[in-house]
């Protein structure tokens, strides 16, 4: 029935209408999930740093869409979107943010250290760029086994100024490891604009010297990200060699929960935020779905309601979950050794 409606834009590559709808709904879930974070944080239900991904949803969604079940990924502390895009149970993600035992890391990791070993998600990391060398090791492990798995490694533009990232890029190229380095350039490292911090603000250009293919792509349009990611990941899986991709994107919210609008006014304008909000990947994808006839207004509304419900359920689940027991304090320090309590 829907197939008879004229398609206004062609779908890229392997993308089917059903798959596009799934990805759209993933972005909706990420958005609603994170919109529940701020109030929960303000109520004191979460602590620590909390960095939301609002505005950047198309990046994780478009790349992770091409991961196979046995692929790996690592990312930075801005990791809620990546976990949800990978299919991690939102309730367990929220429980982790609440510091509960039912969380993905028993409440020991928190917002910045989500993980889902079963899905090859080897963690979010709080040290800027710290996981980039780890990704090279994961890629090396893949080569060592001789499989055609790939490893995706997400990090920010700020990470490009950290030494170990450059060691890692160089090593990735000399060992030809199947890693896709995905630099999510949202233009700011906290309050520092890319133009200030990078002598060569075109990061794909900067990475070119490492002897691997590099590319700069747009990150606000899910279809574009999906198309580019498909090609890049296929290249890395079949060649194999690393690939560096700079994704131009934007965070609509502050750097972290403490970075409120007054604070943000110190480094960016309302006009700039508005300019990027016009390019909201969720709004754009919704418009595309409508115009192409892949969805109706009422379906969009239904999916939106469902995603919000999922987010609220996640909050309720987290809220009702127990905290880890005090004995947990001393567990998981070593795989095989008890840690002595010295008091």
């Amino acid at each position: 029935m829907k197939a008879e409606v004229p398609v206004k834009k062609a779908l890229p590559g392997s993308l089917t209408p059903q798959r596009l709808v799934e990805l759209y709904r993933t972005m909706l879930l990420i958005r609603h999930f994170e919109e529940q974070c701020a109030p929960a944080y303000r109520q004191g239900k979460m602590g620590g740093y909390m960095h939301v991904y609002i505005g950047q949803e198309a990046v994780a969604t478009g790349f992770i869409a091409h991961m196979r079940d046995d692929d790996y990924m690592l990312c930075s502390y801005r990791d809620h979107g990546h976990a949800l895009a990978r299919g991690t149970d939102p309730r367990r993600v929220m429980a982790e943010l609440f510091g509960r035992y039912t969380g993905v890391a028993k409440g020991k990791g928190g917002s910045m250290h989500l993980v889902d070993v079963e899905r090859g998600f080897l963690g979010g990391y709080g040290i800027v760029g710290g996981m980039v060398p780890l990704a090279v090791g994961v890629g090396y492990g893949i080569r060592y086994r001789g499989t055609d798995q790939v490893c995706l490694c997400f990090f920010g533009d700020g990470a490009m100024n950290i030494g170990p990232v450059h060691e890692a890029l160089n090593m990735a190229a000399i060992y030809k490891v199947p890693v896709v380095f995905i630099c999510e350039n949202n233009r700011y490292a906290m309050a520092t604009p890319i133009e200030f911090a990078s002598a060569v603000p075109n990061l794909a250009e900067r990475a070119k010297q490492y002897g691997m293919p590099t590319k700069q792509i747009g990150g606000m349009d899910l279809l574009e990200v999906y198309r580019e990611a498909e090609e890049i990941i296929r290249h890395v899986r079949t060649t194999p060699e690393p690939f560096f991709v700079e994704v131009l994107t934007y965070r609509f919210e502050g750097h972290g929960i403490a970075d409120n609008p007054t604070n943000q006014a110190l480094y960016r304008t309302k006009e700039e935020i508005e300019y990027w909000r016009q390019r909201d990947p969720i709004v754009n994808t919704a418009r595309f779905l409508l115009e192409s006839g892949f969805a109706t207004e009422s379906e969009l509304l239904e999916w939106d309601t469902y995603a919000k419900q999922q987010a609220l359920e996640a909050v309720a689940y987290a809220d009702a979950s127990p905290e880890p027991s005090i004995e947990e304090l001393y567990r998981d320090v070593y795989t095989d050794m008890e840690v002595q309590e010295w008091r």
Partner: protein, 322 residues
């Protein structure tokens, strides 16, 4: 067999036993290893398993951790432990914490090994071992074998361990010789070794200074009739307090001997625990013989003065017996 050969034997046997074990580091392959520990391994195991790396300490450590996270058993060599400081973030913030912060779901079975310590006039930036820094970090195991037999048995234990292990060899030990049992054997972590029995005072040491303590003990027995018990801790984390306390219940006096600096060095931890657990057993304050609290100097006489000596130990023993 030399200490270096014992290490090489452990690496060879473990690589043969487990195809997931591989080595990476600067000059470990074509050049045959800066201290010749990895000699012949590239020829034997190929470049996928003996990986020459750029001068990229963070990269080496991180790559090893990443490979360990998906089930390999990397052994990363630092050219010296002074340079491991460049990789400190990878060791402390990543290797040590991944198991814990992901709720016990990702183990990091990796060994970081290489020469520690000084004594060859290599000066300040090549002589620093900082074992107390690593022992201070929950999640890392720290071992410091002093003999070829322990080097082989403990390296095998380290490779089979599912945790990150800081494996400190002492540069001055590589050419020392000793009996090494044939075939496959391991030396457990957390078990100190009484390297000499004695009744008058306990010398607690680890790594190369154990040899110094043994020399001092021999001289004290010969010239003064003082019988020192010499304990080689071997493993700093886990730490075997039982053996220390058993000895102190016998001798009631102790001296800690190490190359670590005195100030906030590892001896401070040993002594703190002794007084927490066996205060009543002590007949004298426990003393420390340690490196001077200075960057290690170049000049031969200054370097000698900076490191603990046999005479320092003898003097300390006499003081605790006085």
């Amino acid at each position: 067999m030399t200490y270096r050969e014992a290490l090489r034997q452990a690496l060879t046997e473990e690589m043969e036993r487990d195809p997931g074990v591989f080595i990476l580091g600067e000059e470990v392959g074509r050049y045959q290893g800066t201290f010749r520990v990895t000699e012949g391994l590239l020829q034997r195991f190929g470049e996928m398993r003996v990986v020459d790396t750029p001068i990229s300490e963070s990269g080496i450590a991180g790559m090893a951790i990443g490979a360990a996270m998906i089930g390999l058993r990397p052994v990363a060599e630092f050219m010296t432990f002074s340079f491991a400081l460049i990789a400190a973030d990878q060791l402390v913030n990543h290797a040590a914490k991944i198991l814990y912060m992901f709720g016990g779901q990702i183990a990091v079975p990796v060994v970081f090994r290489g020469p520690a310590g000084g004594g060859a006039q290599l000066s300040a930036q090549h002589s620093h071992s900082l074992e107390s820094w690593y022992a201070h970090i929950p999640g890392l195991k720290v071992v410091t074998p002093a003999t070829p037999a322990d080097a082989k048995g403990m390296l095998k234990t380290a490779i089979r361990d599912n945790n990150p292990v800081i494996f400190m060899e002492h540069a001055k030990l590589y050419s020392t010789r000793g009996e090494v049992p044939e075939g496959d054997y391991t030396v457990p972590f957390g078990v100190a070794d009484v390297k000499r029995e004695g009744s008058d005072v306990t010398l607690i040491s680890y790594s190369q200074p154990v040899l110094l303590a043994l020399q001092a003990a021999a001289k004290l027995a010969e010239t003064e009739g003082i019988e020192c018990e010499v304990i080689d801790l071997r493993s700093l984390q886990p730490l075997d307090m039982e053996t220390i306390l058993r000895s102190i219940r016998k001798t009631h006096r102790a001296v800690v001997v190490h190359e670590d600096h005195r100030n906030v060095g590892f001896g401070a931890e040993v002594i703190a625990r002794v007084q927490e657990l066996a205060f009543d057993e002590l007949d004298a304050p426990v003393l420390r013989v340690a490196s001077a609290d200075v960057p290690i100097p170049y000049a031969r006489n200054l370097e000698r003065a900076a490191f603990p000596s046999e005479e320092d130990i003898i003097r300390a023993v006499k003081r605790v017996l006085a």
